[in-house]
Amino acid sequence: MIDRPRISSLGDDCVTVDFGNEISIDVNSKAIALAARLNADGFEGFIEAVPAYSSVSVFFKLAEVRRSAQELETALASVTRCIDRALENLSDALTSKGRIVEIAVDFGAQAALDLEHVAEFAGISQRDVVELFTSKTYRVYMLGFLPGFTYMGEVDERIAIARRETPRTSVPKGSVGIAGRQTGIYPSQSPGGWQIIGRTNEEMFSLDREPNSLLQPGDEVRFVPMP
């Protein structure tokens, strides 16, 4: 059984379902499973369910929900009922492991803009930073910030460097960055403050693919150094 999560309004056309303010695979799996259930089988007026680290935001068309709702019932009450139904037996739908995706990364000096800085922070060699970074498998907890930008974790504590104090105005496309225990890949050139330790040639986001994003919440990622 899963304890009933907290459901609150995010405006009059969205509610958010909160499983607890934490980053853990267990909680994230619940969020992903609930979002998947709702996206597969929504309700009248449903737009989309969006998973984050530990919560799901459910967007809907207020007028359409009201049209199909019981008399005098608010859209909020109607949507909450649908979410409660989707939460039933949610534990049966939990899958802790997603697809495993390998991503080739260039850790050379041209690409790894902050690698020297990270090595200094950790008090180890650049080679050891790469070794620590590539020895782990990372979970895609959520996407956000930019189309196709993944929030992955967790980075080894020894190299879990905070964001740059002054964000770059332009981070090259494909840059692999660290922000605390999170790692992520910039799918396109963009301003950004993550510490860049490498770059991939993979198209993280492409209109020629369905879905557009290479990675999805719940996927597992392994970084492989480019030869």
Partner: protein, 319 residues
């Protein structure tokens, strides 16, 4: 059959009601800032309400119609003139071949919407024509309009003069009281900050754009330091920044945020905020979800009346 952009104006973009279905992949909805204005304009033109329009600021674009076109303007009052003759907001108008539309002055509001009957012949991305400026995708080549751009659209000689009634046209002003619903982290405010939130006026700073409006007021405090993991946000979500100031997320907001979500501006009042600009002021009144829904549905009914009126006018003309 097209619109020719003779002068681009400041940040003129193609927008519709936003792109949905991609938030899980970090694709933000974008879309018009003032949905009420966009929906009224499209309804007047008998377009589907999700038809794309051009969102303009001041100075606005100068546009030539290269074939007969029925159009309408709504939102900010920018003193529109077609070949030197004034064009009223919230009304349909007819442009003959070679006519030029200019906007002379700003009397109120921040954003005006130009819609044409039949909409623009552009390719949709994920079901929408909204311009996503961060990704450089969608709308017209994923960017703001430039001089010389040509936007294909429908040509028509079938023109019904009509004007939206006062019961539906929004009453924009520079110091609105916005109704809000308490957000998931509202309860984390100290009692005195909660009072401040309800009582004080907030000023819109210069940092106001399509992504969000930063407000300035007496700083608000949380009961405890709160480290929030990134969670969902919405158009109208008000986040409390570490310096105690509020930011209201607008149409180009990102799909998630890591700051406490104190409140959300209700759908019915978001257009009033969207038409404010730097130096304007807002205050907040907390309402229930029931009340927010009631107000949203009231607008839906007004829009339905307008839609029916337009249809009747067409049917009567055929007899």
């Amino acid at each position: 059959m097209s619109l020719v952009i003779r002068k681009p104006g400041i940040l003129s973009t193609v927008q519709d009601l936003g792109r949905t279905g991609g938030r899980s992949f970090g694709i933000n909805p974008a879309g018009v800032m003032d949905r009420t204005a966009a929906r009224i304009v499209n309804t007047l033109l008998e377009n589907d309400e999700s038809t794309a329009l051009i969102e303009m600021h001041f100075p606005a674009a100068e546009i030539e119609f290269d074939s007969p076109t029925v159009f309408a303007i709504g939102g900010a009052e920018l003193d529109a003139q077609l070949d030197g003759k004034p064009i009223s907001n919230w009304s349909t108008a007819f442009a003959g071949k070679g006519s030029v539309l200019k906007f002379r002055n700003k009397s109120y509001g921040s954003r005006a919407y130009l819609g044409v009957r039949g909409g623009f012949a552009l390719d949709k991305w994920l079901g929408s024509l909204s311009t996503n400026l961060t990704a450089g995708l969608g709308g017209f080549e994923g960017r703001a309009l430039k001089a010389g751009d040509v936007i294909e659209c429908s040509s028509t000689d079938e023109y019904f003069p009509r004007t939206a009634g006062t019961s539906i046209v929004p009453l924009y002003h520079r110091f609105p009281t916005l109704r809000v619903i308490a957000g998931p982290e509202f309860g984390l405010l100290t009692a005195s900050s909660e009072q401040e939130f309800r009582k004080q006026g907030f000023t819109l700073t210069n940092e106001c754009n399509r992504m969000g409006f930063r407000l300035r007021g007496k700083p608000l405090n949380l009961l405890d330091r709160y480290e929030m993991v990134s969670a969902g946000v919405n158009f109208g979500t008000m986040q409390l920044l570490p310096d105690g100031q509020l930011i209201v997320l607008m149409a180009d907001h990102q799909t998630s945020g890591g700051y406490p979500r104190i409140a959300n501006v209700i759908s019915a009042d978001l257009p009033l905020l969207a038409q404010c600009g730097p130096g304007d002021g807002v205050s907040f009144e907390i309402v229930t979800v029931d009340e927010a829904e009631r107000l949203a549905l009231r607008f839906e009914r007004e829009l339905n009346f307008l839609r029916l009126g337009c249809r009747l006018q067409r049917q009567n003309a055929k007899r």
